[in-house]
Symmetry: D2
Subunit: 111 residues, 4 copies
């Protein structure tokens, strides 16, 4: 029985192959595509407060970011949930709860 | 029984609340944080070919992008797998397989 | 008598050549480097209001953006003041003062 | 007698004020706008080699980056040529020509 993540990856591979797009999908350009979608996501908030942004448009642009992020992970054959858990554990070490509490200071500047 | 996505979201909420960071996590700054991590991801490929980038570093930066993407979706109470499936279906309409085959042309320029 | 722009371009060329970096400076990676510096600029404002950002750090990161922008223009042998004037004139057409007044709406949505 | 930079800044102020846009132009959103234009610049190179990108489109997007960079500098009342010269001098210290020669290694990793 496959997970929602595996199903999405399978659909993304099929989407790519039906269009013969694997030839474009090197890791460097996938990362670039992701950052361009991230900018389109940010554009939804430009000259606005968070509340003034259209949730429908934010949702669409966030989806595009996630679709490229999944494709990049898949390019390297990585388990997406695993790499996220791993980094979250590392971030927890870098930002100890007692020192980081209520502060937006970057971890390497925490004393 | 919860999915890996739900488990990650629960861990992210706990991580945030132990540090009292909900006060910083408005949607505009979460999107901004995501795009900054996307740039750090791209930095791994700067002045390099895709193959020259360090997979370990790419993995870490991609994880940070995904962690913020999940937090932004969670801020809006969205189902992550659902919003991705929805957008993938829309992209399939925008880029019909027969017209897009082997072409990197942006969908609004396909004829 | 050379302009400040020409002097900066000359210094940038010398800086690059003393380090033998022309081999890395293709237009695609220069544009990528620019966007990474743009993200570092944005990082100064993350989780903050505009007023809370450190002007000294903003100044440094903005300088890096400009240095890459100048190098990219120089890669194509473009006159920087000229390309800016040209685009400003085009933007003035796209956003007629009477329609755009007081509105942050994107030009293609102005009616 | 004014420089091309001063003339451009004067035109940008006039462009902004005729549209009553100063209200939107806080430093945080100007930096965000700059990074969105930087992504549009990068989009010209997506799935392509540097040579395959359209110079005309690169020129337009680079111009938009520069226009926002100038407006951000002007927001802080900075002398643009001066801040660029200053950073170039700092970069020259960080990347000594003899150590950085022919290497794309980031300065903090030079030994």
């Amino acid at each position: 029985m496959s997970s929602p993540i595996d199903e999405l990856l399978e659909q993304l591979r099929q989407f790519r192959d039906e269009r013969d797009w694997a030839q474009f999908h090197n890791a460097k350009d996938l990362a670039l595509a992701l950052s361009i979608e991230a900018a389109e996501l940010n554009e939804q908030f430009l000259w606005k407060t968070a509340e003034q942004a259209s949730p429908d448009k934010v949702r669409e642009e966030l989806a595009d970011v996630l679709l490229y992020a999944f494709q990049l992970a898949d390019k390297y054959d990585w388990d997406i949930a695993e790499l996220m858990r791993e980094k979250l554990a590392r971030n927890a070490e870098r930002y100890p709860a007692d020192k980081a509490k209520g502060s937006a200071t970057k971890y390497d500047q925490l004393s």
